[in-house]
Symmetry: C2
Subunit: 320 residues, 2 copies
């Protein structure tokens, strides 16, 4: 099992490279939920999401031999960009396998951070096959987005920093997708504040963690039609084992609750978060857990959202 | 003339009520302009803009007799909301005269902060007449948005905090509309860092400060068609006198440069700023002033922008 001490070690390893993201508070939010809420703003992390912590921690722990060969992943979201940027910083080659129907903006962002992008057919089978073939040919180290202890240790450093800065907390709300962030958050929280409760928040439309938590075994969803695109992934055995032990409750939020929480963050707190990043606050605002008079930590996991459509509206206002 | 000492006094007066807004930095921004840039994020101020500083400072300095009667303004932007919130905090009545064609969202926001809204015809004459009549009837104290020393002293506390936190600066970029923020910024900057240059940034489409600075007298624009709606106002003699003495250069930015700077702040720095709030960064990015290897302060003045249209797009993604 991963320990608090290992998260502390990871923090020492990465803290001069990743951002110590701000902890933000809002009088309006505190008044609304009658609690003291501390938002850990991982949208201000390098490349825009907490994924940077785990990716940098993982690559920096590879052997020199593995570093010389390079790393590979077939995620196409924030993990790919985090891996690309971390690899560049460490002088390691990064390869990202993406389906050929990926939005050009994602391909460009990943290339922008210095990764080699290999396009494949838009099926999971093709992604895995393409990845395996490249690993066989070049000896790349596969860095899974969450089924990896060093990823989890790195992810846990966000809650670690939050609690070190905000002090003792009663509750910590954290989004859950594949469970890497939640695993790290739960270990850091229980380690630093044994009495604190860890609340996982999941989109109702991608409720595999909720079902798994109830059933006691990993349950996989076939469809995951949620706007919180970073949370469509399923748990793995590694993260589920940690979550079962450390998480107190898994709650579900609707798509509307996610959008409303995101809107609150943008309008009232002036923070650009992506839908997945607003899910934890949606959990707080949903009222399913009593927060009154408590000290509440909330992990806002990232801020990478396509603003093209919004800026088309802005552009129209000034003409040309 | 307003002194640094008076800004320090204002800061002591307001600091427990207004937010000490964060100073944010960005590796991407620093790399792009090859400088160390410190953004003073007044979008995170209470009610969303620096206006809170001057409004709270001004009302708290009124005599008990004036406080008992109440305050009035006929601005309908951030100043009105700042006045309303400050008055509520201090237990003072606030009246805001607004044209009856004002967007309902602005009327609601001002009422939401506890002000009484009086609607008038949508002409400057009607606004002034309505305001004068109410002052004659009720003895309200008129709080002008910038032609007021206590407003300027309060506004200066943003740059004061910035320099106290970031340390010695070589350049400070500040937007200019009526000149209240610029006046306060320039006094604080020259007081704390006598060698620093103060650069005023103005939309090309509302270039009265630029023209006034060149001409040596207050020049008024007839049309001010800029997306930076907070900067459409003209200088007054009070602010012009301060600006002539303390500001080193006034530069102009195009509408496209304003939108591009705003997009950079949203996409790369994850900060919601309004167009007026992005004008100072547009000045930095425009390359008109050499910033290389310098320590550069940038006042991001506010973040109040109507997000309705954007969230209609988001809402459409989840249906209903």
């Amino acid at each position: 099992m991963i320990t608090l001490n290992e998260i502390e070690e990871a923090h020492k390893r990465i803290k001069d490279t990743v951002n110590k993201t701000p902890v933000m508070t809002s009088r309006t939010l505190n008044d609304r939920v009658k609690a003291n809420v501390f938002c850990k703003c991982e949208n201000y992390q390098r490349m825009g999401a907490f994924k940077m912590r785990g990716a940098f921690n993982t690559i920096s722990q590879l052997s020199e031999e593995d570093k010389a060969k390079g790393v590979i992943t077939h995620s196409s979201g924030n993990h790919a960009q985090a891996l690309a940027l971390s690899a560049r910083i460490l002088g390691v080659k990064a390869v990202v396998v993406m389906p050929k129907n990926s939005p050009q903006v994602k391909v460009n962002a990943t290339k922008g951070y210095g990764a080699e992008v290999v396009l494949c057919e838009p099926t999971l089978a093709s992604r895995e096959e393409t990845t395996s073939k490249l690993i066989a040919q070049h000896g790349y180290a596969l860095v899974h987005p969450y089924d990896n202890d060093n990823i989890i240790r790195g992810a846990g450093t966000a809650a670690y920093e939050l609690i070190k800065e905000a002090g003792e907390l009663d509750l910590v709300f954290c989004p859950v997708g594949g469970g890497g962030l939640l695993s790290g958050t739960s270990i850091a929280t229980k380690g630093l504040c044994p009495k604190a409760k860890v609340i996982a928040v999941e989109p109702k439309n991608a409720d595999d963690a909720y079902k798994s938590f109830q059933a006691g075994i990993v349950v996989v969803n076939k469809t995951t039609n949620t706007i919180a695109d970073g949370l469509r992934t399923n748990l793995c055995e590694r993260t589920f084992a940690i979550i079962r032990r450390n998480v107190d409750q898994v709650i579900l939020v609707t798509e509307q609750e996610i959008v409303d929480a995101m809107r609150f963050l943008w309008e009232r707190m002036k923070i650009v978060v992506e839908p997945s990043g607003a899910v934890s606050l949606a959990g707080v605002l949903s009222g399913q857990v009593t927060v009154e008079a408590m000290r509440v930590g909330v992990i806002l996991s990232g801020g990478n959202i396509d603003l093209e459509a919004f800026f088309e509206l802005v552009q129209a206002k000034i003409g040309t």
